[in-house]
Structure formats: structure tokens, C-alpha cells
């Protein structure tokens, strides 16, 4: 991998060290090492099945890691949960659930509420403010099953905004949304970034990468590159990311799965 390019930064907001993740005993991410500077809008780019969502889920501790660690603000996730916000893929939930738009957005406040307490006026105000930011305040009472894809995505973003986090992870926020929503969402992300917040987005539309992102992570089962967009978003690195899988890596992964090996022997 002569031309791989991973730029490490000082005082990163996000540091991933030697991360290996398996799904169903098959390794899907191999030895990821990277760091992200504060305040950047960062895109995670790669073909289907490259492990983009898995990387975010590993950072969020939603999938088990075989090895390595993740640090946010130089601390573990458990120590900084309140500074972290996560926007899952829209399709990861059932939108037929009996809840209104406001109900869903209020869920972003549950962490601060603590057990046994119901949302108060201040929480409702925060939720309405977030809905206003994403242009959905008129829909606060609407049943969520009546929303379009773009509106669902805005609701999810509003829920994240109520958390007032310092770092945002968004899993495919632009998938299947209309152009107006994409523009509106990006504008909000840009504003957050101007306030010094860090935004990390799983994205798969190569056309818009250079406009949207200051920092790019190229991923295909392993880390191909991580660095400022102009240095990383180059034809040769893209070729390496998209130009066919490393068949050897895939085959070894399948052998690991069949033999039920541990992807890493725990020391």
C-alpha cells in the first residue's frame, strides 16, 4: 500500500487506534488507525460494504471490537457521552411507531433527564427550537408515519440537535432525501462546524465530497486514507478505495468466519 495516506493530528477530537471489528465472526474492518482534528466536517467515503456504518457503530460502542480503542476528546465514550450525538440511518427504526414528531425529538433530551423524570417545559422548548432549525416546527404534532423520507431525516437531525453535543456522527443523512433537505441539512452542519463542533458523516455521493467535507476518510475494509480533502480526495487514492476489493483480505475474512477463529487473540 505504497500510496496510502493517513494524516495523524495533534490533540484530535476523535482518535481510533488499531481498531478491528467483526460481524458474525467475519472481520469487516481491519486495523483502523486515524485521528480527526476538532471543528472539521469529515466524510467517511467508500463503496457499499466497505464498513462505513460499522466504523461509526464501533465508535458508538454499538458493535463489539476485536481489538483497539476509540477515544473522544482524549477520553472514553462513557466519560463523554453527553458531548456526543449520533444520528442513525433513517431505515434503522420503524416509522410506524405510535409517536408524534415532537415525541421523537424529545428523545434527544432523555439523557439529561435521568430516570423516572418526564420531559419538562424547557425540554419541549429545546425540542421546538431544534425543529425550527430543521424547518419542521409546523409538523411537531404530526404522526411520524406520515413523514416523507426527507422529513424523517430532519426529525432525526432535530433529535440530535437537542443534545447540544460537541461531536456529531451521522450515518448516511443524505440517503434518499430530496435536494432541498440535503441542502438544508448541510447548511445546519456547516453552522455547527462554525461553532467549533466536529461533524462526521457517512456519505456515498462522490460528486459532493469536495463541496461538503474538509476532511475525508477513505475506507474499504481497511483504512485507505484519512486527511484534508485536497490531499486525500485524489484519483489514485479513490482508485485504491473503489478499484475492486482486496480479494485476499475478503477470502481470509471468510476463512476466519468459517473456522470461527477469533479475529484477534485476546492477550
Amino acid at each position: 500500500m505504497s500510496n496510502s495516506f493517513v494524516k495523524q493530528v495533534d490533540n484530535p477530537v476523535l482518535e481510533i487506534h488499531d481498531l478491528t471489528v467483526s460481524y458474525d465472526k467475519k472481520p469487516v474492518l481491519w486495523g483502523i488507525d486515524l485521528s480527526i482534528p476538532a471543528g472539521s466536517i469529515c466524510g467517511i467515503i467508500g463503496p457499499n460494504g466497505a464498513g462505513k456504518s460499522t466504523l461509526i457503530k464501533a465508535i458508538m460502542d454499538l458493535v463489539d471490537m476485536n481489538s483497539g480503542y476509540v477515544k473522544l476528546f482524549d477520553q472514553t465514550l462513557d466519560e463523554v457521552r453527553k458531548r456526543v450525538s449520533y444520528v442513525p440511518q433513517r431505515e434503522s427504526v420503524d416509522w410506524d411507531f405510535p409517536a408524534s414528531v415532537l415525541d421523537v425529538v424529545l428523545m434527544g433530551r432523555y439523557a439529561n433527564l435521568g430516570l423516572f423524570k418526564n420531559p419538562r417545559k424547557a425540554d419541549k422548548e429545546a425540542a421546538m427550537k431544534a425543529l425550527e432549525m430543521v424547518g419542521m416546527d409546523k409538523y411537531s404534532k404530526r404522526q411520524i408515519s406520515q413523514l416523507s423520507g426527507g422529513q424523517q431525516q430532519r426529525v432525526f437531525l432535530a433529535r440530535a440537535l437537542t443534545q447540544n453535543a460537541d461531536i456529531y456522527f451521522l450515518d448516511e443523512p443524505f440517503a434518499g432525501v430530496d435536494a432541498a433537505t440535503e441542502k438544508a441539512i448541510f447548511k445546519i452542519l456547516q453552522n455547527l462546524s462554525k461553532e467549533g463542533k466536529t461533524i462526521i458523516v457517512v456519505h456515498h455521493d462522490l460528486q459532493s465530497v469536495e463541496t461538503y467535507f474538509e476532511w475525508v476518510i477513505l475506507l474499504n475494509l481497511r483504512l485507505v486514507a484519512s486527511g484534508p480533502t485536497p490531499e486525500v480526495f485524489t484519483p489514485s487514492l479513490l482508485e485504491e478505495t473503489y478499484g475492486g476489493k482486496l480479494t485476499l483480505l475478503t477470502e481470509v475474512g471468510e476463512l476466519v468466519q468459517q473456522g470461527e477463529f477469533k479475529a484477534r487473540e485476546k492477550q
Binding site: L62, P98, A99, A111
Partner: protein, 428 residues
């Protein structure tokens, strides 16, 4: 009537036990049932209810008594185990959820039947009545059962009250719940525990086989009436309580009638009624909506045809014969009779022997439909680049859909056009 008064004044203590017992257990199962329903784990109730049988038998074998508290403890443990077994099968094998559900259910139930048969043939005199767990024994509830049910109902309801928002979040989006730091594993455990508790009490009334209905039916019925979880839970408990009272009353007034099965029957009727009559989601309302749209289409198409005839002749308020209408557009005789009668009633047309003519309102409406039709045709050719000879059918539908706001936007977008792609005039 006499029976009714006798029943509701609780003239015999036994009635009181049965009524309150059935109400308490119906409410508990209706409330937790809402969560299993929205989590799409409806069959879990079925697994638990079958799986408590070995627990009941084992605790009877160990203690030799039918004290409800001992039996409930045994039932609780084996009910829980069945869920653990099911989850372990899903996590560690390639077997999917449906098969794992069936496996866990049948293995536990099999062991239960085995133990029960053994107990029945063991000659233990106090064993008689243990088999009521299979089919329930609501009408034979006694004071001690009621105490056990009350305690369990209070535990279940308090737990839901305390953890309402957490249960809601882990049901809707467990990943998000985990990321914001909720202890989802513990919450899931609590939710499973109260589900098992509700099932354990419920089967004493309706038995193993009908228990799933006690959990799911009230929730499914309530879902038809509301889009909010809190209301769904309240409604579901109301349905449960109503079925409890009714079941108890029916079996009281007709002693050969079993309480449990009647509770399930009543719940099923409530569910059926909801299915057909609930506003918004009920079948009947949806049929009615479909019917009124068909009627609207017929009326508007007739008015459009009148307008078209008037356009051709240059005189919009002349009388039109039925044959003339059919020359322009193919209406069936039944449609014509029905449609014209409706237009007459609504004041869009007037009648002169066998001919018809437009009123002012009818003319305006016919003009508007024609106008929307042509505007849409123009839009399709201009913005979707569809050939002019392919736009008619599409416009025939859309003309009935466009709202005045959309009409205004369409006009502006097309820069207030005067003629359509076929050079017909777009009327103002």
C-alpha cells in the same frame, strides 16, 4: 336484571374475588402487551405462557403445595429461562427468530406436559386442580389468588409508570438509547420480567393457550384508535378491564360458561370492531373514502363533459341530451343516472324533461376541472418533456387532485398560459 344487580353489588365475596382478579390481570397483561406489540415481539407472550408450565410443576413437586406465591416463583423462573434460551439460540446459531420462538416454546411446553402427567399419576392427593393452569380457572379465584394478583399488578403498573419513557425509547430506537447512555440491557431485563409476571398471573385465568391473546389483542385493537403510545396503553387497559368484567359477568349469569375464554372472545370482538370501525385506520372508513372519491370523480367528469359540449357549441347553458354526453365520454347508464341525480341535488345541473343543462355553479366547476386538466397537460409537456399525445390519461386523474394552492403555483410556473399542448383554450 336481577343477576346484574346481584353481580355488581358483590353479594357473594366470591364474585368480588373473580371480578377484581380478572380486572387486575387483564390490565397488567394489556399494558405490557402494548410493549411486546410495538417491539414486534408478539409471539414472546406465547413462548412465556407455554414455558411457565414446567416451572409450576417443579415448584409443586418441590414444595408439595399449590400456594400461588410458590407457583408464581417457579413459573417466573421457567418463563424467564425460555426467553434466555430463545435469545441464546438466535445469537449463537443460524436459526432465525421465528424458528427459535417455536423451538423454545415447544421444548418447555413438552417438559411441562411431561411433568404434569407424572404428577397426575403420582397419587398425590393435593395435585388435583393443578391442570387448571392449562385452561385457566378464573371463576374459581380465591382470596389468596387475589392478593397475589394485586401485588403483581401493582408491580407491573408501577414499573411501566416509572420507566415509561425509557421503555418507549428502547422500543423505538434501541441503538440511540444505548448511545445516549441508557442501561438498555437492564431495561430490557426489567421489561421481560414484568412481561413474565403478567403472563404468569394471566394464565391462571385464561390458561396457557389463550394467554397470547390477552397480551396482544387489546394492544392491537388500541393501535387502531390512536397514534400515541400513552393513549394506546390507556385504551388497551380499558379494553382489558372491560373484558375482565364482562367475562366474569357472563360466567356468573350462565354458570356453564367459562370466564377466561369469554374474556378472550370479548377482546376479539373489540379487536374486530376496531378493525372495521376505527376512524382513520378502520376498513369501513377507508372503504367510504374510496367510495366518495369515486363519486367525486364521476361528478367532476360529468361536469367536464357538459363544459366540453358547451365549448363545442359555443353556448354553455343550452340543454344537453344524455346521448350527447355519451358521445363525448363513455359513461355507463347506471353512472349517468346516479351522477346526474347527485349533480341535480347539489345544484350543479337543472333538468328539463329528458335534457339537462348546467347551472352557474355547475358551469364554474366544469370550467375549473377543464382548466386544471389542460394546465397539467401543459406542465407535463413543458417540464417532464412528455409527448403531447401521452399526457391526456395522466391529466384525467390529476385534475381531480390539484388543490387551489397548487393551481396557483402551477399557473405561475407556466406563466399564466392561455392554451394547452393541443391548442385548446385554458379557460380563466
Amino acid at each position: 336484571m336481577e343477576t346484574l344487580i346481584e353481580f355488581f353489588t358483590f353479594q357473594y365475596p366470591n364474585i368480588k374475588y373473580v371480578v377484581f382478579g380478572t380486572i387486575l390481570l387483564s390490565i397488567s397483561s394489556a399494558v405490557v402487551g402494548c410493549f411486546t406489540f410495538i417491539k414486534k415481539k408478539s409471539l414472546v407472550g406465547d413462548v412465556i405462557s407455554h414455558a411457565v408450565l414446567p416451572g409450576i410443576c417443579l415448584s409443586f413437586l418441590a414444595t408439595g403445595s399449590k400456594d400461588p406465591f410458590f407457583l408464581i416463583i417457579g413459573a417466573f423462573i421457567s418463563g424467564w429461562l425460555s426467553i434466555l434460551v430463545m435469545d441464546a439460540i438466535i445469537q449463537n446459531t443460524k436459526i432465525k427468530e421465528d424458528a427459535a420462538t417455536g423451538l423454545s416454546l415447544s421444548v418447555f411446553f413438552g417438559v411441562g406436559i411431561l411433568l404434569m402427567t407424572y404428577i397426575q399419576h403420582s397419587g398425590n392427593a393435593s395435585q388435583s386442580g393443578l391442570d387448571t393452569f392449562l385452561f385457566g380457572k378464573a371463576a374459581a379465584l380465591v382470596g389468596k389468588d387475589l392478593l397475589a394478583f394485586s401485588i403483581i399488578a401493582v408491580i407491573v403498573l408501577l414499573t411501566v409508570l416509572l420507566f415509561y419513557k425509557e421503555f418507549k425509547l428502547i422500543s423505538f430506537d434501541p441503538q440511540f438509547a444505548k448511545v445516549i447512555g441508557l442501561p438498555i440491557r437492564r431495561l430490557e431485563m426489567i421489561l421481560t420480567s414484568i412481561t413474565v409476571l403478567a403472563v404468569v398471573t394471566g394464565i391462571q385465568a385464561v390458561g396457557v393457550v389463550l394467554m397470547a391473546a390477552m397480551l396482544i389483542t387489546p394492544a392491537a385493537a388500541a393501535r387502531f384508535w390512536t397514534n400515541r403510545l400513552s393513549r394506546m396503553i390507556l385504551l388497551s387497559s380499558a379494553f382489558g378491564a372491560f373484558s375482565g368484567i364482562s367475562g366474569a359477568f357472563i360466567s356468573y349469569s350462565a354458570p356453564s360458561m367459562p370466564t377466561g375464554p369469554w374474556m378472550v372472545m370479548i377482546l376479539s370482538v373489540i379487536a374486530l370492531v376496531s378493525f372495521f370501525f376505527a376512524p382513520g385506520k378502520g376498513i369501513l372508513i377507508r372503504q367510504w373514502r374510496r367510495f366518495s372519491i369515486r363519486r367525486q370523480l364521476l361528478e367532476e367528469n360529468l361536469l367536464k363533459t357538459f363544459y366540453r359540449i358547451g365549448e363545442n357549441s359555443g353556448e354553455h347553458f343550452n340543454t344537453v341530451a344524455i346521448d350527447d354526453l355519451q358521445l363525448v365520454r363513455n359513461f355507463s347508464p347506471a353512472q349517468l343516472t346516479k351522477g346526474l341525480r347527485k349533480l341535480l341535488v347539489n345544484g350543479y345541473v337543472s333538468r328539463n324533461n329528458n335534457s339537462w343543462f348546467l347551472t352557474n355553479e355547475g358551469f364554474e366547476k366544469g370550467k375549473r376541472i377543464t382548466r386544471l386538466h389542460r394546465l397539467w397537460e401543459l406542465y407535463l409537456t413543458k417540464y417532464l418533456r412528455i409527448a403531447p399525445d401521452h399526457v391526456h390519461e395522466d391529466a384525467d386523474t390529476i385534475e381531480h387532485v390539484i388543490t387551489p394552492e397548487l393551481e396557483a403555483r402551477l399557473e405561475k410556473l407556466l406563466e399564466y398560459p392561455t392554451s394547452d399542448p393541443h391548442h385548446s383554450e385554458i379557460p380563466k
